[in-house]
Symmetry: C2
Subunit: 226 residues, 2 copies
Amino acid sequence: MKIAVLGTGTVGQALASRLAELGHEVSVGTRDVTGTMARTAPDAMGNPPYPAWAAAHPGVRLATFADAAAGAELLVNATSGGVSIAALAAARTENLAGKVLIDIANPLDFSRGFPPGLFVKDTDSLGEQIQTAHPELKVIKALNTLTAALMASPAQLAGGQHSVFVCGNDPGAKKTVTGLLESFGHTDVIDLGDISAARGTEMLMPLWLRLMGALNTPMFNFKIVR
Amino acid sequence: MKIAVLGTGTVGQALASRLAELGHEVSVGTRDVTGTMARTAPDAMGNPPYPAWAAAHPGVRLATFADAAAGAELLVNATSGGVSIAALAAARTENLAGKVLIDIANPLDFSRGFPPGLFVKDTDSLGEQIQTAHPELKVIKALNTLTAALMASPAQLAGGQHSVFVCGNDPGAKKTVTGLLESFGHTDVIDLGDISAARGTEMLMPLWLRLMGALNTPMFNFKIVR
């Protein structure tokens, strides 16, 4: 499939790598192509700058949000939650129409420092805000509940015997995304219902952050035992 | 141990039963003893009224919040989140001083119907509100992330191979509560740190409610795979 991953950070890189590895035609979208390719310093988490990753993945094209979206059949929102709405606006409605968007962003609010709060919660969610802003998209919230490495390659933890969630309003889009997640190695993709279930998965973030601190690693995931 | 369970609902009954079964001296606290013993109708969830449960558990004494707390070494807050602060005020400071409180309540807001929202979240939690209102208590948030039957008897699901969380400011109290949970059959009690971690476990409720709907049962739990 032709897939555009919007966002050049750790999540975008992990997903783009995995999708390319699985044989998809992948482009990565960014606000400013020249600026992204001029980066020389590691990011705030100490990850190498995008050009280093790009050099190791010559098959993945970097493009503007609009160009990446225009050429894609399916989109992945791997931008920071705080800029997701702006990134999708920059991608332009005509490039989004009728397409599936896997929304991985969390509405993290770093305005009070670490740990972050949530800039939307409980009675609304970022997933819903994106769906409302872009009724032409089929938004499926997914993969926002685990670390990037495990989103892309779940089998490296307990052989993939843990759970991820999907929610969204379009059953066909949910089926497409579920299949894609299973192709990554996810063994338990739970359908939570419509996009308002994103409230629940986004509000998991504060517990996730506490667990990362308690366990001293991001390499864990939730399994729903039943 | 002498333990007071505050609250006569499903959670209070499940915990009081299990604690009595394990040999503890258990009292149940209520706002109005006469009113509670006069109940003849099932509750909103279809559970039998308290007197039916009490008849089956003659060793468990029903008392006012204050009387139950006065005679106890350890307290369990199994009241509804919306009345927890009032229940603890009714228990009176002098009956709480220096004692461990296991806070199981969730800050559910049913004012907009079902599913409930949360009346406190993200930058505060019910657990913290209780600790602030009662600095004389050692508040440990625990067991608010799974259904009552599994709180009390986790082994009935996957032999207890799933996770629960504790958080609170007093290490000794956390150790006491962890031991009590392990005596119930919990095999993975994760220490999340101070009481502010209650934000994370209380905000798990919206996902829990969605999962109950998706799985069509409350008999599930989170396991932290790592």
